[in-house]
Amino acid sequence: MNTNHDLPRDLARAYEATPEHLRALQARLAAAAQAEGILDVAYRTVDSPVGSLLLAATEAGLVRVAYASENHDTVLQMLSDRISPRILNAPARLDTVARELDEYFAGQRHSFDVPLDWRLSAGFRSTVLHRLPEIGYGHTASYAAVAQLAGNPRAIRAVGTACATNPLPVVVPCHRVVRSDGGMGGYLGGVEAKRTLLTLEAAA
């Protein structure tokens, strides 16, 4: 029997929705999920002088900042595996940190005061990261000095690892940790990004 080959296509076309309409429904879903307390992770991206940044927050606070070089899709999948798959693009929860980042990149803000969710770092790495905000805006500290600050002066390599796996770059300033010989050292967002941030902070 010759069934209607193009009927599925005609039907699909008859009920087609515009991308704007679908976006509006997605936003309505995000608001409802937030109100119901089932939006475990909200995220958005922002443009910045160091490229597109992914910002993700739980109900507890900012949980992840990711550079484009980390691949945002990979990071979202990691958040799904490690925290919860109930993840939506829901900019509202990230409004404050997005505004503070704007101010930071404009040279008008020297520290961040949004709540942080530290659950993606643990152990000595977490100890290291917690101390980094003590390195003031426009200053740098050596890996060795940070090891000392974190209570384990010999754990210089571990400080490097902690910085390289910082789940909250820019906001938790691992870019201010540099080599003792004055070299910049590596950076999870790439050496260019580190230079951009240090130059920005030095100018203020």
Partner: protein, 164 residues
């Protein structure tokens, strides 16, 4: 290995299909509410969904139940309320009102069978699981629906399209 996609991906991949199904079963006006209820309910249950589950069939199953809820709620309302967004009542570009009208006039079961098989692409075993009854009954309901559509919407029978 249970790699479950972020729910945002589920919405991005299946959102338009689920909306089409809701529009076909309920009409454009009530479809937005059914879509929202479907995805909110799905998101609530998502962490417990087996990683190898057929997500589209799961969503259409939820949408089927939500559509019934919305229909009941609508029939309880004596006077239509003004709470729906304006866009919901505005026909969008690309709409085919003749075909939509023809489908809207089908008996519920035929309409649902056509929507779930032809719009959502579910096999008849899945359609039968959603509607209740046998696979053959689901196939017959869809075939009867299509036969009526071909009679009342002649464009379908005469137009040529590529096989999918």
């Amino acid at each position: 290995m249970t790699l479950k996609q972020p729910f945002e991906t589920v919405v991005a991949v299946h959102g338009s299909t689920v909306l089409r199904v809701c529009r076909a079963v309920l009409g454009t006006v009530d479809a937005d509410d059914a879509w929202s209820e479907t995805f909110l309910s799905a998101m609530r249950a998502y962490p417990d969904l087996p990683a190898d589950a057929n997500v589209e069939a799961w969503l259409v199953t939820i949408a089927h139940r939500k559509a019934i809820d919305v229909t009941r709620a609508t029939s309880r309302r004596a006077i239509p309320t003004g709470e729906l967004p304006e866009t919901a009542t505005t026909p969008e570009a690309g709409h085919d009102p003749d075909l939509a009208d023809a489908l809207a006039r089908l008996p519920d079961r035929q309409k649902q069978a056509v929507a779930y098989h032809y719009l959502a692409g579910l096999p008849y075993t899945e359609v039968a699981a959603i509607l209740g009854g046998s696979t053959d009954a689901a196939r017959r309901a869809a075939a009867d629906g299509i036969a009526t559509l071909r009679r009342t919407y002649p464009g379908v029978a005469t137009r040529k399209g590529e096989h999918r």
